[in-house]
Structures are given as structure tokens and as C-alpha cells.
């Protein structure tokens, strides 16, 4: 199978220092690569650069063989619709002044020029699949919990049937039981659509459950490891294993 995403020598400089430099990896359909590092190490910026939300300093991103920065506007928009992002704070990921129903149907309404009634109808199976009651979509984002919003986000994203999903700490603001629901849902959806995924997180345990390979970011460098190497590498980091209760 050909690679969905090919990242070569990606670098980003801001102000005086590098945020990251020479990051390279390829990603196949259905595969998940993790980006691990403490807060402020530049992992979110890397995700945004790949998506084209921020400008790169150096390097290239090939998505399905095409460089998104070298395309004209129309082609770029088509291609970008196939790569989607989930953000860290579900409560601000939706326009606070619009009912959820508008935000969820918006991408399809724009890209397929469909009527919102019709779009909603076509999305109903997806809405049920993520475990949301359609009635909830009539509310405003401020009235819902983080878990519900993150589910709605999955509907919005998968409505475009993306080939690549970048998840930027999608559950770090959520409770443990909600986290397990959302992550399981993400895995399931990913399997069904064989979406490639870049999973950004600072939690090594979640990392191990979600990812096939893991890129550890520190001091601007990104080292890609497979799962076994990663669990060896992070052994000293794990809380419960290193510290016995009786010290």
C-alpha cells in the first residue's frame, strides 16, 4: 500500500530558536503514528504545519503524493478536506454562537453544496455510530460536555471521509472514563475508514494503546521508535512502576 503522508526534513524556526528540525517520516493508510513530548516541545506546531495551518521554514509535506504548498487554491482545498484535525479543547472547537447542527453539517454544506437538511439526513448513521442522540445537535456548544462535543467533532470530521487525521491531545482535558470512550471510538472509526492518524499526546500510556509507531520529541528533534523500543525508553517515566507505595 502506498503511503498517505510523506514528511521530509520538516523544520520550523520561530524567533531565535528552532521549534523542531529535520523531522521525516512516512505514514501508511490505517496506521497511527504518535508524537510524544512534554508540553511546549513543539508537537502541536508540527501537527499544524503538516496540515498547512502554519507555514513551514523548510522541508516538504507530500499528502497522497502531492505537495499541498505547491497547489493552486482549488486543488489545495480539495486535498485539505481529506486531512482533518481534532483539537485539545473540545469546548472551544465549535463556534459558540452557532447551534451544533450548523457546525457539524458545515463542511459538507460547503464542499458538496448540499442543503443542510439533506446533509443532516445523510449524516444520521454517522451520528448514531459515535453514540450521539441527534436531538443534542440542536443545542449550543456551551451547553454540552467535553465528551459530547468531542463526539460531535468526530461526526464533523468523518463527514468528509478523511484519509489523514491529526489528533492534538484530543482527550487531555477529559475525564478518564470519557477518555476511554472517545479513544475507543476514534480507534473504531479509524479502522472502519482505514484512516491514517497522527496522534499527539503527552501521556505515554495512552500512546502505547493508540499508536503503532511513536515519535519522541525533545529539544527540537523527533526520534521515531516502534512500540517495543518506546516501552523500553519510557520505562523510567512510568509513575506506578518506579515508585512503590511504601517508598
Amino acid at each position: 500500500m502506498s503511503s498517505v503522508l510523506q514528511v521530509t526534513n520538516l523544520s520550523k524556526t520561530f524567533g531565535h530558536g528552532d521549534i523542531f528540525r529535520d523531522v521525516s517520516f512516512t505514514l501508511n493508510a490505517g496506521e497511527t503514528i504518535g508524537l510524544f513530548g512534554p508540553s511546549g516541545c513543539g508537537k502541536s506546531t508540527l501537527g499544524r504545519c503538516i496540515l498547512g495551518l502554519e507555514k513551514l521554514t523548510k522541508g516538504s509535506v507530500l499528502f497522497e503524493g502531492k505537495d499541498i504548498f505547491r497547489l493552486d487554491r482549488k486543488e489545495r482545498s480539495c486535498l485539505q478536506a481529506k486531512m482533518q484535525m481534532v483539537f485539545q479543547h473540545p469546548e472551544v472547537s465549535f463556534d459558540p454562537r452557532r447551534r451544533l447542527i450548523y457546525s457539524v453539517t458545515e463542511p459538507l454544506v460547503y464542499h458538496e453544496k448540499g442543503e443542510s437538511e439533506y446533509v443532516l439526513h445523510s449524516l444520521l448513521p454517522l451520528i448514531h455510530a459515535v453514540g450521539l442522540h441527534p436531538g443534542i445537535l440542536d443545542k449550543y456548544p456551551g451547553q454540552l460536555s467535553g465528551g459530547e462535543l468531542q463526539r460531535a467533532m468526530m461526526v464533523r470530521i468523518y463527514s468528509l471521509s478523511p484519509h489523514l487525521l491529526i489528533a492534538d491531545e484530543p482527550t487531555s482535558m477529559l475525564d478518564m472514563s470519557v477518555q476511554s470512550q472517545i479513544l475507543n471510538l476514534m480507534k473504531e472509526m479509524q479502522k472502519k475508514n482505514s484512516t491514517a492518524c497522527i496522534f499527539i499526546s503527552h501521556d505515554p500510556e495512552v500512546m502505547q494503546v493508540m499508536c503503532d509507531r511513536i515519535g519522541v520529541m525533545s529539544e527540537g528533534k523527533c526520534e521515531i521508535m516502534n512500540k517495543n523500543n518506546f516501552s523500553e525508553w519510557m520505562q523510567p517515566l512510568l509513575v506506578m512502576d518506579t515508585m512503590e507505595k511504601d517508598h
Binding site: R48, F87, S93, D95, E106, M153
Partner: protein
């Protein structure tokens, strides 16, 4: 960010309930309702001023000049014997005409330039930001004075001049709002969904940051009325034939001791109209901005 203490959590819940219908908050604010009704009344009076005024505001009567209140002239007459009450009512028309036109023009110019600048960023934003700064570096009345000398007096010139003076504050506010809003995750998520810039701007960013600008516009109507009065008090701006509150006070000054109503009444009129717009502006801010939850009047 999910917030900290419980008080904010609880407030968030009640806000989210109320956010969808700020009409509820409007219903709670008696003072705001009264102010809105009064503004409508004032607009009507301003619009039909010549018909409402009991007498022609420009008919002079040198026999009965500087009179106190009489049956004919309920507020007395000025130094040329013109009916004070009628002149005050017609002055309302002049002020409202200029102020409303000014605010509409400078609102459109300011919001367009400000949102463009804020969304673009980079050197375009820098240049526009500098220009806004220069306009704001002039105390407004000074700039207005200089411009009035350039343009000469007249209602139309007054509108042009005030628009030049006021667009910058709208532009600065809009620019700041857009700058803050465009890095919100929901805007990024719209970008990530490959929605184009104009779509994001008109459907998400502007609707989310326009409310403070509307509040500013409401308060600035009052501000414009003050500036108009100040300029015509100084003798620039409005030709003497048109009844205007500022110039009425100015012409009443020499006779202040014998006919004090000529300086008191127009000033009260200015104050009341400005007060109404100020109260309404702040009221709109209170009911639309969930952060300031100051119940109570005024």
C-alpha cells in the same frame, strides 16, 4: 480552558443557558428597556422635528427677545426672540442626522479595514496599524478643528470630518477582536475543514466579535453628539442659520444672567440624548457579554 472554581463552573452553566437567549437578560433590565423606548421616541421626534416644533425656529422677534417662559414660548426666547423650545427640538434633528450618518459611515469603514488588517497580519497589518495609531494620536477635538478649517462649515462637511475622526477607533477595536478570535480553535477547525477565508470571516469570526463594536457604535453616537455640540460652540462646523445646541449655548452666553434658560436647556438636551445612548450601549454590553454580569440599573 475548563475553569477552576465552582463558582465559575456554575456561572458557566447559567451563562450557557442564557447565552442562547439574551432576550431573557433584556427582559430583566428595566432601565435598558426604558432607554430603548426613549431612544425610539427621540428618533421619531428628531425625524419629524419641523412638524412637531410649535413655532418656526428661525422667526425672530426683537421685541420679545430674552424672555422667560410664557404661554406662547414655553421655554422663553433667545437673544433674537426666537422660540427656544422649537429651536431645541429642531436642534435634535441636526445632531441626530449628523451623528447617525457619521456612525454608519465610520462603522462600515472601520470594520472593513480593521477586520481586513487583523485577518491578514504581516506587513499590511503593520502599515494599517500605524495609520490607525496616527489618527488616534490626535485628540479628537483637535483633529476635528483642523479638519473643519480645511473643509469649511456645513452639515455634509461635518459628517465627512467626524467620519475621518472616528473610523480609527472602530478599526482598532475590530482589528483587536479579529486578532484574538482568529487563533481560537474553532477558527482553526474551520480552516482545517478547508473552508475558505471569506467563509470563516463572515460566518464565524465577524459574528463572534461584532458585538463589542456595536456597543462602541452606540456609545459613539453619544460621543459624536458631544463633538458636534463642542465644535459648533466654538463657532466652527454648523452654519449659524441651522438651529444647533452648541451654537445656541454659545449665543446665549452674553445674556446668561438675564436669560439662563438659553444656556441651560440646550445643554440638558445634549446631556440627556448622550446619556440615553451611553446607557443603551453599556446595557447592550452587559446583556451580550456573558463576562460582565452586573445586574442592577445604570
Amino acid at each position: 480552558m475548563s475553569e477552576c472554581t465552582l463558582s465559575t463552573q456554575v456561572r458557566k452553566i447559567s451563562i450557557s443557558i442564557q447565552k442562547s437567549d439574551w432576550l431573557y437578560r433584556f427582559k430583566m433590565r428595566r432601565d435598558l428597556q426604558v432607554a430603548c423606548v426613549l431612544i425610539v421616541i427621540i428618533l421619531i421626534i428628531g425625524f419629524f422635528a419641523p412638524d412637531i416644533a410649535p413655532q418656526n425656529p428661525n422667526i425672530t422677534d426683537l421685541e420679545g427677545k430674552n424672555q422667560g417662559p410664557t404661554a406662547d414660548h414655553i421655554l422663553g426666547t433667545d437673544y433674537l426672540g426666537r422660540d427656544l423650545f422649537s429651536r431645541v427640538i429642531c436642534g435634535l434633528q441636526t445632531s441626530l442626522e449628523i451623528a447617525l450618518a457619521t456612525i454608519v459611515i465610520s462603522f462600515i469603514i472601520g470594520v472593513t479595514i480593521g477586520s481586513f488588517s487583523g485577518y491578514q497580519s504581516g506587513w499590511i497589518d503593520n502599515v494599517i496599524g500605524r495609520i490607525i495609531d496616527v489618527f488616534l494620536a490626535f485628540p479628537s477635538v483637535i483633529l476635528a478643528l483642523a479638519l473643519m478649517m480645511l473643509l469649511g462649515s456645513g452639515v455634509l462637511n461635518m459628517i465627512i470630518m467626524l467620519s475621518i475622526v472616528q473610523w480609527a477607533s472602530f478599526a482598532r477595536l475590530t482589528r483587536g477582536q479579529v486578532l484574538a478570535e482568529k487563533n481560537q480553535e474553532y477558527v482553526l477547525s474551520a480552516k482545517a475543514a478547508a473552508l475558505p477565508g471569506w467563509w470563516t470571516m463572515t460566518k464565524h469570526i465577524l459574528p463572534n466579535c461584532i458585538m463589542p463594536v456595536i456597543v462602541l457604535a452606540t456609545i459613539d453616537i453619544g460621543h459624536a453628539i458631544l463633538t458636534i455640540a463642542t465644535l459648533s460652540f466654538l463657532g466652527v462646523g454648523i452654519p449659524p442659520a441651522i438651529p444647533e445646541w452648541g451654537s445656541m449655548i454659545n449665543s446665549g452666553l452674553p445674556y446668561m444672567r438675564i436669560a439662563p434658560l438659553n444656556v441651560i436647556v440646550p445643554g440638558l438636551a445634549i446631556t440627556c440624548v448622550t446619556l440615553l445612548f451611553n446607557i443603551t450601549g453599556e446595557g447592550i454590553r452587559d446583556i451580550t457579554d456573558p463576562k460582565t454580569d452586573n445586574e442592577g440599573s445604570l
